[in-house]
Amino acid sequence: MEVIRQAVNGGNADPKDLRINQLRARQLLRGELEGEDLDRYVEDRMGLTTLEQAQNWARANALFPLTFGLACCAIEMISVVGSPRVDASRFGAEVFRASPRQADMIILSGRVSIKMAPILRRIYDQMLEPKWVIAMGACASSAGMFNNYALVQGADKFMPVDVYVPGCPPRPEALMYGIIKLQNKIKGDPTLGWRARYNAKGTEELA
């Protein structure tokens, strides 16, 4: 058996070694680190960021989707959260809230009929800022193959949509990719107000 000796308080220790980290943390707590060691310790563990970036990171990784299954795409959406194969809880989007006041993302899965559209808008309005919308499937994005009297031709006619996931129905992996894309969008975007994001003049609510 080979015994390897390496100095802990020296330059060539591997900073990722768990035992060394434990030792250093104990030293810090006891107040034994000083001077250069203390500086190096703090530098290794500190990240510099802005408040917006930190906020966005937290928001993206803890999305609360609203349970809004309309039609066939809802079944694939339930497979995303339910099936052990593609699991949304790996990415933090596991907790499906039923109340719109507690949710920040709405996954529009299914066809939006003209009878359902005002209800959908009302639910969207009840959600608190910041909120995002994923239009899942062809019917929510653009009415899919149903170019007729009974459907609203795409949910973006009355509500702003962030990510469109095509497919009829999209595979659970595709929906997962859409959620990850939304997460990247949240992390990278400097402004949260959707009206600024889309240059949506004329959509201000007056009441």
Binding site: L70, A71, S79, S83, S113, I123, F146, N148, Y149, L151
Partner: protein
């Protein structure tokens, strides 16, 4: 058109009165105590709106419920929030193109929708489907029946509070969807069933994978039963709740597991066999009292029977063609297009114009997981149907909801909706 409307102008009556399901005149006198309740003159009936957006995952169903305390006095289901105009859209498409539209009606049992339509059109064309195609249809139909029942099991248990079942049921349903993906390329809405047969033959290795599934499934169903069958909470919630008598169900035109739970063994697969179902040996599970627990047990047993049917069909799968020979309705195989001129012409005509169906009308019923699914097709001689209508099971089954829940607790109504298994895509079409 406006002449017809003025007598029924809905906006003339205020909304509350229009939608109110129980009028106050139905009480003996306003303020008089309702017999059998503790409602005194200071209490009132409370009308609450359940849905259309609510966490029970049955879709966009709105239940206008009038409650006295926790007891449901009246419930009016209001539907139409998912109406997609599929039947009207079908009038604008060729027969071949109608199949994807029609599959999206009852979106858990998509093969059944396609089969009902294809069988109706084949009847109009007076076309024979080769036996291999019929066996393949039966295999996929029974797999879809198991998948639909598994999804029902997962979501119903979720409604009742047994959340673990959702993960287990979806895990097994994923196995079935893998099989569908292997045979047709898509998990849901596969367009596998075509007029004249099926789309494509089974790929090599499908048989092995299906048998693996068949070997694994019975023990899985045992696991589900072990989890749920003797569970005290489930028994309290399901036993003796939601009882509707057999005569009332027959009056309401309800068939399927709901009727079989009362003891009536009506099943179109046995009574009026279609697509070679009479070649297989399987039993029809029936219940005794017709309560929610019996409906639950009947569906669990049906899953086992479907496994038997699939095994027999795989064992006895005959050789032959997977789609009809008639080039006027079915696309010729691609290798013929290089050599035969007629095949090219047929292919061209079928893809651009579609096949023509002689004038006539037919109603074709089949046994879907929820009951009798009937397809009515009216053909006028052109390549587009003049009317496609589905007698959808969930639409008719939903009429039993008031009977099942009046006078019972609200929680029993929720359990009843779960056991009723409505699919709002089929209700609204």
């Amino acid at each position: 058109m406006t002449d017809v409307e003025h007598t029924h102008d809905p906006l003339a009556v205020p909304y509350r009165e229009r939608e109110q399901s129980v009028s106050m005149e139905r009480m003996d006198e306003p303020g008089a105590p309702i017999p059998g309740s503790e409602l005194d003159e200071y209490s009132e009936l409370f009308t609450i709106n359940i849905g259309p957006h609510h966490p029970a995952t049955h879709g966009v169903l709105r239940l206008l419920t009038t409650l006295e305390g926790e007891i449901v006095k009246d419930v009016v289901p209001i539907i139409g929030y998912l109406h997609t105009g599929i039947e009207k859209s079908c009038e604008d498409q060729q027969y071949w193109k109608v199949i994807p539209f029609v599959e999206r009606m009852d979106y858990l049992s998509y093969y059944f929708n396609a089969t009902a339509f294809c069988m109706a059109v084949e009847k109009l064309l007076d076309e024979e489907v080769p036996q291999r195609a019929q066996y393949l249809r039966v295999i996929h139909l029974e797999l879809n029946r198991i998948a639909s029942h598994l999804f029902w099991l997962g979501t119903s248990a979720l409604d009742l509070g047994a959340i673990t079942m959702l993960w287990w049921a979806l895990r097994d349903r994923d196995m079935i969807l893998d099989l569908f993906e292997m045979s047709s390329g898509q998990r849901l809405h596969t367009r596998y069933i075509q007029v004249g047969g099926v789309f494509e033959d089974l790929p090599p290795g499908w048989d092995t994978k299906c048998r693996e599934f068949l070997a694994r499934m019975p023990s899985r169903i045992d696991q589900y039963e072990a989890l749920l069958d003797r569970n005290e909470i489930l028994l309290q919630r399901l036993k003796n709740t939601g009882v509707v008598s057999e005569e009332r169900l027959l009056e309401l035109g309800i068939t399927g597991p709901l009727l079989r739970a009362t003891g009536n063994p009506w099943d179109l697969r046995k009574a009026d066999p279609y697509s070679c179902y009479d070649h297989f040996d399987f039993k029809i599970p029936v219940g005794t009292t017709g309560d929610n627990y019996d409906r639950f047990r009947v569906r669990m047993a049906e899953m086992r029977e479907s496994l038997k049917i699939i095994e027999q069909a795989l064992d006895g799968l005959p050789e032959g063609q997977y789609i009809s020979d008639n080039r006027k309705i079915a696309l010729p195989p691609r290798h013929e297009l290089a050599t035969s001129m007629e095949a090219l012409i047929h292919h061209f005509k079928l893809v651009t114009e579609g096949f023509r169906v002689p004038p006539g009308e037919v109603y074709q019923p089949i046994e879907a997981p929820r009951g009798e699914l009937g397809c009515y097709v009216l053909a006028d001689g052109s390549s587009k149907p003049a009317r496609v209508h589905f007698r959808d099971t969930s639409f008719v089954n939903l009429q039993m909801l008031p009977d099942m829940s009046k006078g019972h607790l609200l929680a029993d109504m929720i359990a009843g909706v779960a056991m009723l298994d409505p699919i709002i895509g089929g209700v609204d079409r």
